[in-house]
């Protein structure tokens, strides 16, 4: 398309709009302009709710650890569970910080990256879930003790526990590799895409795909 030809079409379009387009001032005057239109408002509310929930859980676990400090296995299990709660809490706080920074006056690519990173929040929970796999027993120990007053650990053979811990620790390296793969940069890898699709929402998937699109756009 030659530039001159394009300009001719556009000039005709502009003329058309100039002649036929007018503002419905009555309609514009009656719009409630003080209404907040930020589509990020609802996301902010959800993240604040998450912060409150994870903060309460962290306080509860802190109390549990302190109460059971003399029982090493309970304290260690509590510390591990609290570690993951704190990661989730810091993730939610980070998201609130990003949301507060969103200003539509900024360049489009900058804003889109921030918004889509917020929309991929589900991926953090997916990663935390997988990261919890080698230490899932700590959730069982804490839940068993707190909810049912059953000390699961005491019923186990020490030798079995040691072997079990050793086997689980072997999972850490492949798990870290696996979690690093779960990124928008690897959506072209079939198993990565299918794993993320299986465990997260379509919103998270769309956001990851768009982060890819943004990266391509910036090249």
């Amino acid at each position: 398309m030659e530039s001159a030809e394009l300009k001719k079409i556009l000039a005709a379009y502009d003329t058309l709009i100039n002649e036929k387009l007018s503002l419905n001032v009555a309609s514009l005057s009656s719009i409630n302009l003080d209404k907040s239109a930020k589509s990020t408002q609802s996301m902010l509310v959800y993240r604040v709710i998450e912060i409150v929930i994870f903060s309460l859980l962290a306080i509860f676990m802190g109390n549990y650890i302190a109460t059971n400090w003399s029982e090493t296995h309970l304290a260690i299990s509590g510390i591990i569970v609290n570690f993951f709660i704190l990661i989730a809490l810091s993730g939610a706080i980070g998201q609130v910080v990003i949301l507060q920074q969103i200003d539509y006056k900024e360049p489009i690519v900058v804003i889109r990256k921030k918004i889509e990173k917020v929309n991929t929040h589900g991926l953090l929970f997916l990663k935390l879930m997988f990261l919890s796999m080698p230490i899932w027993w700590s959730y069982v120990v804490v839940a068993g003790d707190y909810l049912f007053n059953i000390d699961v650990y005491k019923g186990m053979d020490a030798d079995f526990v040691l072997k079990y811990l050793m086997i689980n620790s072997l999972l850490v390296v492949p798990l870290v590799w696996f979690l690093n793969k779960l990124s928008y940069k690897n959506l072209h890898i079939t198993w990565v895409k299918k794993t993320i699709q299986l465990f997260t929402s379509s919103k998270t998937m769309k956001a990851l795909e768009f982060l890819n699109t943004i990266e391509e756009f910036e090249k």
Binding site: L21, K35, K105, F210
Partner: protein, 169 residues
């Protein structure tokens, strides 16, 4: 004071109404979505009105905000904007319908161009709208947040695709 601000705002919108009109038509294919997007853009422009940075031309500043809002709107999974106030169902735009509008070659080419822009992804739509507004590559780069060279390359590629569309005629 507020009435004065609103009057200035309406005057500004009237002067630059084409910008909102073009963006809304590029990002929304149906009438209801267009009305919703018009409102969201206006509210965002109103909220930013006092913070207008005279370093930029008002039209560029308006494009930046309106395009950001449009892309967010376009990417929403559920599009209906929750309206608490039901009075306003009318669009802010009035278009004169002309029964004598001729099906000229120019109008036909314009339709192809509009359809082409509609089919671009959100970011390329923004790029094309700015280019067609005769913004400089530097301004386009600033609004989009990419380099000038990138703007030039992308525009060149899109124009090649557009040429193919016209060649199909």
């Amino acid at each position: 004071m507020r009435l004065d601000k609103k009057a200035r705002f309406i005057k500004t919108i009237d002067e630059h109404k084409k910008i909102i009109y073009k963006i809304v038509n590029a990002y929304c294919s149906n009438k209801e979505d267009r009305k919703d997007l018009e409102q969201e853009i206006l509210i965002q422009l109103w909220n930013s009105f006092d913070n207008y940075n005279s370093k930029y031309k008002y039209s560029t500043w308006m494009y930046r905000i309106a395009l950001n809002v449009a892309i967010s709107f376009y990417r929403k999974e559920t599009k209906r904007f929750a309206k608490n106030d039901l009075y306003n169902e009318a669009s802010i735009f009035k278009i004169e319908e002309d029964a004598n509008d001729k099906e000229t070659v120019l109008n036909y080419h314009l339709k192809i161009l509009q359809d082409f822009i509609q089919n671009l992804n959100e970011l390329n739509k923004a790029l094309m709208l700015l280019y067609l507004e005769e913004k400089s590559y530097e301004e386009i780069a600033q609004v989009l947040g990419i380099t000038k060279t990138n703007v030039a390359t992308k525009i060149s590629r899109i124009k090649i695709k557009l040429k193919k569309e016209f060649k199909k005629l």
